[in-house]
Symmetry: C2
Subunit: 361 residues, 2 copies
């Protein structure tokens, strides 16, 4: 009987417990378990037997400290509840798990304080990378903030990855995985214009949000291309939620705005708009056409099914993780400190929510 522990049940078994009980050295146990070193069949057998008996698992903290350790990615998001987030997260988590990596998740709730606290927490954890998800509110301070994160993480041997927002300015050690936001909006608006719509209610999202800005730019460009004047009065800003879509349409109707189509900033906003239209006795798409953006499952679950812009969220997640992994292994011909910028394509998915405008009354 060993002196310390009466008889092996106090707390968690350690590698030493396994070694003693198997009558071998801790080094040997370590080697058997890591599997990255030649060991005799006999040794492996004896060790594994004890490991099974004791239901032993390695202490990840000790392992990390000593050099080994499972890489971990941290996913940070404003609100875990969005469908778009879920798909990016699935992409990241799936790719991470495939490589045996772990995924941490944190929500910032749009609070810079919490964001900072979380980034530091992740830095303490020694994560391989911090992945920031979703559009950002591009205030003055924002660029500095992110640059600081990037450098802190980089200095600690970690990385900052921005997903779904524009790359940072200047020479900042961060990777960006983005999608052709403006292009998608351009194509979507063109679709509406080519169907004959000229009076379009535009609900791009919150004015300070990078994604909303891009979508608005794309729409405006399409109008220009079609030689159709873009009326600022037809633009209503607001959050990317159902209520905003509902309220914006309801108010526009009340204000006597004249429109034959709604270009919504997201599918959820489109859903709200649709409901408001119907509440006002208007039919979709017979009286008013509606298009969304994101192509989350909701888009095809609405009636009529929504014509929208497909964004490859899950793939973005996978791409982000691959970028992290590549970079860790000293990516091909890539200076450390270099910022990568990857852009994935978007495309319009035509369903049943658009019809040519009804002849003017």
């Amino acid at each position: 009987m060993s002196q310390r522990k009466a008889s092996g049940d106090a707390g968690r078994a350690t590698i030493r417990d396994v070694a003693e009980r198997a009558g071998v050295s801790v080094a040997s146990v370590s080697r058997v378990l890591s599997g990255n070193y030649p060991v005799s069949e006999e040794l492996r057998r004896r060790v594994m037997k004890v490991v099974g008996d004791l239901d032993y698992v390695t202490n990840a903290h000790a392992r990390s400290l000593a050099g080994g350790g499972t890489p971990t990615v941290a996913i940070l998001i404003n609100d875990i509840t969005g469908a778009a987030f879920a798909h990016v997260a699935r992409g990241v988590e799936g790719a991470a798990t495939l490589r045996g990596w772990l995924s941490l998740v944190g929500t910032t709730g749009d609070d810079p304080e919490r964001e900072l606290a979380l980034v530091n927490m992740m830095r303490q954890q020694g994560v391989a990378a911090v992945v920031l998800l979703g559009g950002a509110y591009d205030y003055d301070e924002y660029q500095l903030r992110m640059a600081r994160f990037a450098r802190s993480l980089d200095a600690a041997g970690s990385q900052l990855v921005l997903v779904g927002r524009p790359p940072l300015e200047g020479d900042v050690p961060a990777t960006t995985v983005d999608y052709d936001n403006e292009g998608g909006a351009y194509a979507m608006a063109s679709h509406l214009l080519s169907a004959g719509h000229r009076k379009v209610l535009v609900l791009p999202g919150h004015a300070e949000l990078t994604t909303a800005q891009g979508r608005l730019r794309g729409a405006r460009r399409a109008f220009e291309a079609y030689g159709v004047p873009f009326e600022p009065s037809m633009v209503r800003h607001g959050f990317y939620d159902y209520e905003h879509g509902y309220d914006a349409v309801q108010e526009s109707l009340r204000d006597g705005l004249d429109f034959t189509a709604v270009l919504a900033g997201t599918d959820v906003v489109a859903a709200g708009a649709m409901q408001a239209l119907r509440a006002a006795g208007l039919r979709v798409p017979e009286d008013v056409s509606i298009v969304g953006y994101d192509d989350i499952p909701l888009a095809s679950q609405l009636t009529p099914q929504l014509t929208t812009v497909h964004v490859p969220y899950e793939e973005m997640g996978r791409v982000a993780l691959r970028a992290v992994a590549d970079r860790r292994e000293g990516g091909p011909g890539r200076r450390k400190g270099d910022g990568d910028h990857l852009v994935l394509g978007t495309h319009v998915v035509v369903r049943n929510s658009v019809r040519p405008p009804a002849p003017r009354v």
Copy 2:
């Protein structure tokens, strides 16, 4: 200049770097940072200055090893993409963050192998608890599997928490946070019956899934209470997805089944059913009524808005985390090894998808 590191930039700064540079002992630095010990103002100032300059953060692994460390909860789920999951996760994550805890996330994809691998991985991480989310497929092996998880985790000073599924049988050290699944189904079915419906198409979900079983039981009990015969031929099993709802209704229609209402196992299934009904030229709720289950945002975004059963997902998440925290601190009058079973209430949310059945043709 110290001998090892040329000049403080190799990798991450350690507590020793901070101590040297501040001209104090590592013990002092530790005390300043932990803040759980009296230190002079002067010392604190000097240390914090250096900490700022070096952008130092403590190594979480070392800290854990040495005794301290941030508690972490692991959330395990089949598919991260479900709305119900998102809300439970938000509850858990929110409550965790509130306490300064971290949240790990893993997806099992319905694969027992991956589930086991993940549980072990979490055990290695020394998590405070593993929270398993969502209904389970209750095969024979299931109970044994979970019991094994529970004991392993318990032996390692961790915990197993089951959320959204029935408690385990026997004396297993696991906590269960569940909702009144059967009661909700009973109420929902009663609502339909009291509106006059007698021919109801029931889509409870996959037959082996605990949640589906409970919902089916609830429905059956309601029929009995109303003295209405429950026709097995009116029940169609399938996955909890949009396609199942669509296909089940389409096939039922094709098979000439006679029904005036659909009792769907989830809101998503209801959405699919709704679409299929409309594709067949039937109006909701004028021709056929529909009810769902879960009360995810989708339910109120559909047209007509769905009458459904509200499940307090987010609260379940919070409750689960609180249970973990309580237990860690030696919960009030609770033997270690005791399994807790918490059940939250559900209730029907009446919206616009139900009408009394149309007079028979």
